[in-house]
Structure formats: structure tokens, C-alpha cells
Amino acid sequence: MHLAQFNIGRMIAPRGDARVAEFYDHLDEMNAVADAAPGFVWRMVDGEANDATSLRPYDRDPEMLVNLSVWESRQTLFDYVYRSGHMEYLRRRREWFLPLGEVFTALWWIPEGTIPELADAMRRLEHLREHGPTPYAFTFRQAFEPEEPQSVPVDTRSAL
């Protein structure tokens, strides 16, 4: 199983505004660190750009950015987000993003080889906000393991 991550952030100003210029200037760099990070599998881009900042799925909230990516494990995702050059920008996040007052990141397990859908990701974050961490949508601090298969075929030869 792979780990999907969805997070959102409301910018303090629209693209083009000097207050968020530095964030956009370093976006390619941050994404390059992600792409090269151990355990990176996939991240959502809008098709034309190399990032997802033009996707604004929250109709009534046009400054809400979304970010959707897939990783091999919780640890590899954690190490990219919090233990890489990405951290310098994360530390400064309040310069560009407004506090949201509630949970803004959701994690869940997906079968390897599948790509998460944005609408599904938004539902999972909503679920996490309403019900707290569950295997359907959880957080770094309260993470769940991928579910074990219900039954495992037994290779009788290996018992000999």
C-alpha cells in the first residue's frame, strides 16, 4: 500500500501580490526536493504547470490552495515534509498562509498503482475534521497502519 496525503492552505494574497512572491519563487525548488525525495511516488499537477497552485477546487474560497501526493510510507513522507529543505519554508508558512483554525492535512492508504482523486481527497479531509482520525483519513500524529488482508493463501511447502 502507498500513502496518500492531501493538504490545503489559504494564501494571504493572490498570486502576483508581492507578499506571496517569495513563496511562488521557491515553489519549483520545493517541488524538486519532493520529486527527488526517497519514497516519492506521485504528486498532482494541473497539466500545464509543474505544480497544482492553479487548481482551486473550493469554489467559495479562491485563495485555498490544494496539494495532493502519494508516498511509499509514512516515514518517507514525514522526512520530506519535516526533515528536508522543505522545512525552511514550512517554518515561514505564516508569512504566506493564514491559520485555518482546524486540521488541514489528511492521510490515507491507497493500493499501489492507483492515483487518488481530488474530490475523494476533499471528502476525506472533511471526514477527518468531523470524526477525528480513523483509517479512512488520519494525521501524522494519529496514524493508522494499512489493513492486513483478511485471509492469506498458505504455501504448505514452506512449512516442510
Binding site: R83, M87, L90, R91, G101
Partner: protein, 205 residues
Amino acid sequence: MSIEAVALLQDPIRKRLYDYVVAAGHDVGRDEAAAAVEIKRPLAAFHLDKLTEAGLLDAVFRRPDGRTGPGSGRPAKFYRRAEAEFAVSLPERDYRTVATILAEAVEHEGFEAAIAEAAAAHGPVVTGGELFAALAERGYEPYRDGAVIRLRNCPFHRLALDFPPLVCGMNLALLAGPAAEAGWTARMDAAPGRCCVSFSKTNED
């Protein structure tokens, strides 16, 4: 339980062995530990195993560095700092819950600028320009990596895992002032397995 573990360090030989292993930055074998503390190998082994039983060190079995494949001998026992944490508070106090609740509120509401400002007043005190000693005094376990000072231990480890941008940002704010005072520049330099801050000499040009 934890008070018994901590009490083990009353013994000066054990304390020296423990200090050596946690500062080493690599897994330490019995021969190396015995030599470092200037005792015989069996005595070192006895105390290292005592520290392991108490949960202060973790023991791992592996072949010595550089030796692999057939003929490289049996795996030897190596020691490293334990993952577990010990804290003793008498009477019982629980600052971690308080810190977690406050951190969660900040994470949601955002008071990072105020926290950075407050942190600046609580940094290590540098005397005589000695940044290294000031960091050691506060438990950061500094070490030199070429021209850079790095920190082996994060004194806020658990909280830094739970609230990384908040706690690591606070840590940088805590250390930036004392570093500057001693002629060093502190920066966010996060990587797995060490504290998020490193220091380089401030350019005097």
C-alpha cells in the same frame, strides 16, 4: 520504572559509558567503549548490558564495519542511545500534556511570531563567546562537521515530532540570538536523525 533507570547512572563508570555511547554518533562496540572509559572489556560489557536492560541503551547485533560475507566472523554486539525517553518528576507533573495542548492551539490559530519573540528571551546563555559549551549545557550535544556545528540531540524531540514547524521554528528562534552573539549564524537545516538547526561561522566581510 524510569527512576530506577536514571538511578543506574549514579555509578560513575556507567555514567561515563552512557555519556560516551550517546555522544559517539555511531553504534559503539564493547572494545571501543572499554578503551574510551579505560576499563577492562568484561566490565564494560557488564555495565553496557545493565544500561541496555534498564532501557537507557539499545543493543544491536551486526558485523563490524567493513566486514561482510563468509569469513567475516560472527555479528558482534553494539550499543546506541535508546529510543525511549526517561523523565523523572517528583511530585508527579505533566508538562508534556500542557505543551501538546498549547502547541495544537497555536498550530490551528497561529501565533508563531509571538512565540519566536518569546523564545528569543529563553536561549542558552553564551559566556566568553563559547557557543559550543552553551549548547552542550542545554543538552543539544553539539559536534563539529567540518566548518559546521550540528546538534545530535533535540531537547524537544517528542514535541518536535508532533509539531515540527512550530517547535523547530521555536528552536531556531531560541538559538539564533546566542549564535549571533558568538559569531555564528544559526539556520534551519532539517534532516532525519538530528536536531533541525545547524551553525556556520558568520561571514565577517
